[in-house]
């Protein structure tokens, strides 16, 4: 009884084959069942996430958050869902109906699809394909399409402008993200998720912490969360690409964004924190998802912490940060890790980890030096005298013009 998922699957397979169905049909039915169970589970976690997010933001802002609806406000998200469902669905004049309706579906569906490759336990994974890491990148890029379609279909200048900026930000940050995803693939020699988890004898966060940091920063930018949320800037009146969406369609965008954050946390936990690895997980596979979700929520907590601590970054600062800092850093890290890994092929694990960790920290230290020098020049540049309309020492009399 320690592996309930596979036991139930085998039992169902037995029942279905005793009914006389062919092998292919059984696979199909089990796959459909698996998809429905996984998607439902993920959506229920999504609703829980709304509550977690609201309680966390409240605590960060020194208040309590929802606590009226049910014990500790736990029924609040359900109340929100019901409210969104009964709101009127307004479509702006001149909007492209089909694309307007399709965009929120694409936004949520792409996030759901990512859960197909997350390994929950040594024996429980949706689809253990050997190109899982690139699959994640592929599905993420389809999500980008959904946003630009949403902005276009709204027939609204601000939505379109917001959509353009969002897509420019998202495709820009995809580059360091793909490079940071390449580094664990390089160390594990495979793109399959189960293989990467199984290869993490020390967790990769202790071997290549800088890659984890780069992936973390790029993922926050991909999600469109603060400090990179110039696209949906909650405190500003023009809300970006989903300004014309009402009711449940807006709810899908919002829930999709939160679920995307948890999905990305689960992926970072899988690639860098060892996924389902933990004590006793080989004997009792059911502990695997428990460990995975603990680690995923830890990363999610970090994402929330960053969100509620930093101010918003301007779009030109954000894109400059990506192209001039993160991308060269990620490429340099890739070169260093590749050469070191090949040079240390026969070294034992402890020395290997120490050398890699040392190289990472060296790169971080060098980057800090460069950043400090850059900050110094920037400070000098900003403190320069700028032309003013009137010199500050001018007397009031001279201004008024005494004869």
């Amino acid at each position: 009884m320690s592996d309930p998922v596979n036991s139930i699957a085998d039992w169902l397979r037995m029942i279905l084959s005793s009914w006389g169905l062919s092998e292919g049909m059984i696979t199909l039915i089990l796959a459909v069942l698996g998809v429905v169970v996984l998607a439902t589970f993920v959506l229920i976690v999504d609703i829980l996430l709304v509550w977690i997010e609201r309680k966390m933001v409240a605590r960060f802002q020194d208040r309590i958050g929802p606590n009226r609806v049910g014990p500790f406000g736990i029924i609040q998200p359900i109340a929100d869902v019901i409210k969104l469902l009964i709101k009127e669905d307004i479509m702006p004049m001149g909007a492209d109906k089909f694309i307007f309706n399709l965009s929120p579906i694409i936004a949520l569906a792409t996030v759901l699809l990512l859960w197909a490759v997350v390994p929950f336990a040594p024996t429980v994974i949706g689809a253990d394909i050997n190109v899982a890491v690139l699959y994640v990148v592929a599905i993420g890029s389809i999500g980008t399409l959904g946003i630009i379609m949403a902005g276009w279909a709204s027939n609204n200048k601000y939505a379109l402008l917001g959509a353009f900026r969002t897509v420019a930000q998202m495709i820009a940050y995809e580059v360091p993200m793909i490079i940071a995803l390449l580094i664990p693939v390089l160390l594990a020699r495979s793109m399959g998720m189960q293989t990467i988890v199984a290869a993490q004898s020390p967790w990769y966060i202790f071997v290549i912490p800088l890659a984890a940091v780069i992936l973390f920063i790029s993922s926050i930018a991909e999600l469109g969360r603060t400090p990179f949320d110039i696209s949906e800037a909650e405190s500003e009146i023009v809300a970006g690409f989903h300004i014309e969406y009402t009711g449940m369609k807006f709810g899908l965008f919002y829930a999709g964004e939160l679920l995307h954050a948890l999905t990305v946390s689960a992926l970072i936990a899988t690639l860098f924190l060892g996924g389902w690895r933990g004590p006793f997980v080989d004997q009792v596979p059911i502990l695997g998802p428990v460990y995975l979700f603990i680690k995923a929520f830890l990363v999610y907590y970090l994402i929330m912490w960053v969100r509620y601590s930093f101010p918003r970054v301007r779009i030109d600062q954000m894109l400059g940060f990506n192209w001039k800092f993160l991308t060269p850093l990620a490429l340099f890290l890739l070169i260093v890790v590749a050469i070191l890994d090949k040079a240390m092929t026969d070294v034992n694990t402890v020395w290997y980890v120490l050398v890699m960790l040392g190289a990472n920290l060296l790169i971080v230290w060098g980057t800090m030096l460069i950043l400090r020098r850059y900050a110094r020049t920037e400070r000098v540049r900003i403190a320069e005298e700028r032309p003013v309309a009137v010199p500050p020492e001018t007397e009031m009399k001279e201004l008024v013009g005494q004869e």
Partner: protein
Amino acid sequence: MPDDWIFIGIFLLLAPVFPAAAILIPRLIAPRKPNALKSETYECGIETHGETWVQFKAQYYIFALVFLIFDIEIVFLYPWAVAFDNLPMFAVLEGVLFILILVAGLLYTWRKGVLEWV
């Protein structure tokens, strides 16, 4: 292995069903009273002025192009990374050379001032 792709194929077909259901339910239970004022596009509270279009800013296109080049480059590197065990050191250096050529391209665009968002 094909079983996994069947799972993904079915997931691809079924994943849009959940959000589609979420959109169709309001169609049954939500009020529907369109009027001209509600359907106007939002422009900070005033009436819209002019067609909906975006000022042509070459910057968007250039960023998308730079992204495309780097995307292709990194996609080339994935098989190189997976086959790392079978590669002697000079093959690793060949991959590093590949990366360095494109870093040169990045430096070129940086010096040209293409990466500024004006």
